[in-house]
Symmetry: C2
Subunit: 341 residues, 2 copies
């Protein structure tokens, strides 16, 4: 499949390469006659412009990078969907990487994306270990946007939920329902969001006069199997918790699964709260009580802000820092605390 170039088109149309290029770019000063001739040849040969070559001279690739923790988690999938669709509308394409929450993959993904000259990157799930790397990118004027992920860097662009508040909402809700033994299963401790939520949980517990039982706070990888088996172990204990706050809706599903395996009734025996409000949570068959992140809006904003950063790189210098308000969505997986023996 020999590539057809503007040169080829030019030769056949009997004009110069520059003229062909002009036709492609809708230059004003082209005789209708030649334009038609060129377009005809373009059509005939099935010419398509080589965007790679174009990128080289334009110094623009019209593509962005999207680095996700794990696409199979609906939180990321739904995010990706919104971002990718909106990007297509804006004529950007999206190179997606999936880190599987592994730091080395994140590092590699960033490097490859920079090499491919993407014009900006949306990053989810950035661990504390990468603070320096992100800072350097940002300081170099490269548009980076942290999504649902927070780092302690001055001026870096991010869009996140107020994690502390989110955790507090979950705790408040459960306390109101009479729960005293509330477990918290968090994500890996390398994420700052994890830390903040844990702090929120602790603060809210204490402000309500409960002591913090460190034995009820866990960090875990985002692996279904790990959460599942871990939860089972937890729920088999004599003094098991009556409620569990999971770090994400997906985790919550694994928790529900474990509970189901032990024949615990939800919410009669156990209340479960998730985080994210993925679409599935609203499914009446499941009805997961959760802390909503306004995902659709968050991801749409993320994309648009990134594009804004890209297209106003020179002029604007202010950074974008958005905190979204979390919201409690009460559904079927939470209920009054059971009277324990």
């Amino acid at each position: 499949m020999k590539r057809v170039t503007t040169e080829d088109v030019a030769k056949i149309a009997g004009v110069s390469q520059s003229t062909v290029s002009r036709v492609l770019n809708d230059y004003p000063y082209i005789k209708k006659n030649t334009r038609d001739k060129v377009l005809a040849v373009i059509n005939e040969l099935g010419f398509t412009r080589d965007e790679i070559a174009r990128s080289l001279v334009e110094k623009r690739t019209k593509s962005i990078g999207l680095i996700l923790g794990s696409i199979s988690n609906p939180f990321f999938a739904e995010t990706a969907e919104v971002i990718i669709e909106r990007a297509q509308e804006l004529k950007y394409d999206v190179i997606v990487y999936n880190t599987g929450h592994k730091d080395e993959n994140l590092e590699q993904a960033i490097n490859l994306l920079i090499g491919k000259r993407v014009e900006g990157i949306i990053l989810t799930s950035v661990s504390k270990n990468y603070t320096e790397k992100i800072k350097k990118l940002h300081d170099n004027g490269f548009p980076v946007l942290l999504y649902n992920s927070f780092l302690d860097i001055k001026d870096v662009n991010f869009i996140v939920m107020d994690n502390n508040k989110g955790a507090r909402l979950a705790v408040q809700h459960l306390i109101k329902l009479g729960h005293k033994k509330i477990a918290k299963i968090s994500g890996p401790s390398k994420y700052l969001a994890t830390y903040e939520r844990t702090v929120g949980y602790k603060e809210e517990m204490m402000e309500n006069g409960y002591e913090i039982d460190e034995g009820l706070i866990f960090n875990s990888e985002f692996s279904y199997d790990k959460i599942y088996s871990f939860t089972k172990k937890l729920l088999k204990k004599k003094d098991r918790p009556t409620a569990i706050i999971a770090a994400s809706d997906q985790m919550a599903l694994a928790v529900l699964d474990a509970a189901s395996n032990l024949n615990l009734k939800i919410p009669a025996d156990l209340s479960v709260v998730g985080f994210d409000n993925i679409r599935l949570s609203a499914n009446e068959f499941i009805g997961l009580t959760t802390i909503s992140q306004q995902m659709d809006q968050m991801s749409l904003t993320a994309l648009e802000k990134l594009i804004f950063l890209i297209e106003n790189k020179e002029t604007s210098s202010s950074s974008i820092q958005i905190f979204l308000k979390p919201e409690l969505m009460v559904r079927k997986t939470t209920g009054p605390a059971p009277v324990q023996d």
Copy 2:
């Protein structure tokens, strides 16, 4: 952020641009001395090779396109995850598009990807309307792989499940459980897979001595809301079906949701079978009976076959056509037919 080029590096290191390029590409004949000098400068300046320029001369982009129907459907999300991760290992990057099952988006995505000079495309959800377009690509020697999607084109590469057989498995299972009124909610009729499954359904019904009730066969878009409200209407009827075969697990979830809303017990009042076997289906809390597509293997194979096609474009000419065997996964959403009044 002025870009650092090999030229810049060369100047500072006191060598020629070609030498820098050679160092980057691990050419054998470079004096240790100069190599070290160059590498030092590269490091110091934070040089990263411009893969765009490289692509232009190498005539390779090391990137592929992935066109999905809807990433928020776990079937596609899980597929994407496997493909993207394996691609990263093989040093390819993946430009993802989401068509939302809209033909015009598919068309645009293909064009943009071709423009970006991706070396191959994995396509899901290709409607019949695009047979010609795909055929042309394929005939031009461009590596295209249809994933879970079938078109009536000679020699085109695809990897699909045996849809007819899959539908038959579902029907067999339900018939064995005593169901007589089995509804089939299919995807849009523009997909050949839809057609094949419907045929499988009909054939199996007839071979078991049941008459085909066209009033029990429906085509619907993959929209949660549509499926939900449609199913509710269907289930409110006096002579409602006792079992429903959905076109995908995600659809099945909407069906379950509708049933739940009507207070129908699953599977006592209604049996539901899905298609795909997304991970969530195995969740004990849900336990969806479904037809498994061996998704992980299917997507891994898809990527590797596409790469094979790319890297052996010249030599090999045989096409890749893989039919995977569907498998029935019996779980909690199917049970004996209720005795109806």
